[in-house]
Amino acid sequence: MLYIISRKVILAMVTVLVVIVLSGILIHIVPGDPVTAMMAQSVTATPEAMAEMRSRLGLDLPVWQQVGLYVWHVLQGDLGTTIRGNEPVLTLLMQRLPNTFMLAVSGLVVALAIGIPLGFLAAINRGRIADTVVMIVAVFGVSIPAFWLGLIMIQVFSLKLGWLPVAGSGWRNIILPALTLGLTYCALVARMTRSALVEVLGEDYIRTARARGLREHQVLLVHALRPALISIVTVVGLVFAYLLGGQVIIENVFSWNGIGRLAVQAMLERDYPMIQGFIVVFATSVVVVSMLIDVLYSILDPRMRAK
């Protein structure tokens, strides 16, 4: 099993490396001169500052050297500095990363808490009304843009009802964005739970369990749910990646002080070093989380444990 885990770790590291390389390449797709584009937004744009930025980014060098330089810097932990205040990108991102994770995990918890029971309900009532209703709701859910839902939530809960604050990053503020994320992605979770459970329910060992005269709720909750949950764990990683993606926009809607909000601001300001830094940090987070979930799966499934 150690062998499997180390393989996954290596794969994760390679993935991050690829992303870093891509991030280094991306700055070169900017039409025209990146420094001009960046500095156009900034008030501190002087010819000297621009020249300095150019040399710092190594823009006089051939492309592949620049990318190599960038990768080298990143691996040493230097993600560059922003054009705005000359602050180190890594520091700024790391300050806000906990916020992002807090929201993401909350959103995930909500999505699972709503989605798994719904999927379960649909699966055991397969073909009947409850199933159809849940599936219809799920299709709707998958079709709703998260940011729209967020705006509606703000409209209803903050402005109309005055229950919850609109923006900010305190613990009270987490409720609406977490709920928005959770509701958006619970549809996906519900669908996947349903199909995992339906597949399990068709297996022979469920028939054996019934043949032993076990009460139906025992059959469902012990014999069916457990193997299904194990397959759902693999899906959770996927859902989490999507959730983090959606979160970038949600952070904007709710003015949540996480890396997503920082990133979008940077994009509007053409702060390329910051954008690159964001891509690297984001990708690393996704990869680390996926890997952890993978390992969790290996532990939970007895078939993998023995190896």
Partner: protein, 278 residues
């Protein structure tokens, strides 16, 4: 030996509705099974024998419609609802299936799967249930029950899994055991062991065994009585010696003719490979 039939099946029919009309998987089947005897239900694939066994357990797919009488110990269960069947299954009617690979839950331990039936039906605590499970495993010829109990299905061989299934079923001491092609998925050598086990259980526990199989050889070795099925109907029934030696129905004759040739041929081949002494 109590000759009063514990299981009486009268005019059992299983019908599937489809857009193209009705399909009768089982068509007016009737037989008796007493405790302490082995009745073999033999036929080709699609003859309806598995469906018959599933209908006795009321484990049919939802699309199936059941009609007829099934009485267990004098009580008609054909009309019983799910909750009452849950009491009957396991405790009075045990069943073991064809595929030991997929018939055990891969994520639960053997101990768990063996004791849950006991705790459910006999209200035993964990300790007592484990003891009964241990004894059952010994009864089916597993020498190291504690080790097996702590393992998971994927760690056992096919033969072991089948034994575990049988052990789990007999631990509940059902009066009737239904065995649906219990040896089909196993190696030849293991087959013989499992069949011997079933015969042994018949005499030791006094259970009545309904043995579903397509293999006449198995019938010859194991069963007391036999019922031949074809297209959902029983075409001939009687004591094994009679039916196999003096078959009355054309289909039975054909079945015997083809099977024995194959069976004999296989035996010869196995002997040549040094696997089985002829």
């Amino acid at each position: 030996m109590d000759k009063h039939p514990y299981l009486r099946v009268r005019d059992l029919s299983v019908t599937f509705d489809s857009k193209r009309g009705q399909f009768k998987a089982v068509d007016g089947v009737s037989f008796d099974l007493s405790q302490g005897e082995i009745l073999a239900l033999v036929g080709e694939s699609g003859s309806g024998k598995s469906m018959t066994s599933l209908s006795i357990m009321k484990l049919l797919p939802e699309a199936a419609r059941l009609s007829g009488q099934i009485s267990i110990d004098g009580v008609d269960i054909a009309t019983k609802d799910r909750r009452s069947m849950e009491d009957v299954r396991g405790a009075k009617l045990g069943m073991i299936f064809q595929e030991p690979m997929t018939s055990l839950n891969p994520v639960l331990s053997i101990a768990r799967q063996m004791t849950e039936g006991l705790r459910r039906h006999k209200a035993l605590n964990r300790q007592d249930a484990m003891n009964v499970a241990r004894t059952s495993l010994l009864d089916v010829g597993i020498a190291d029950p504690d080790r097996v109990l702590s393992q998971y299905p994927h760690q056992l061989s096919g033969g072991m899994r089948q034994r575990v299934m049988i052990a789990a079923a007999i631990a509940l001491q059902p009066a009737i055991l239904i065995a649906d092609e219990p040896t089909t998925a196993l190696d030849v050598t293991v087959q013989a062991q499992v069949l011997d086990l079933l015969v042994d259980l018949k005499s030791r526990l006094g259970a009545g065994i309904l043995l579903i199989t397509h293999d006449i050889g198995v019938v010859a070795e194991t069963a007391d009585r036999v019922a031949v099925m074809r297209s959902g109907r029983i075409v001939e029934t009687g004591r094994v010696e009679e039916v196999l030696n003096v078959p009355q129905h054309e289909y039975t004759k054909a079945l015997l003719g083809s099977h024995l040739t194959v069976e004999t041929g296989l035996k010869i081949r196995d002997a040549e490979n040094g696997r089985v002494a002829l």
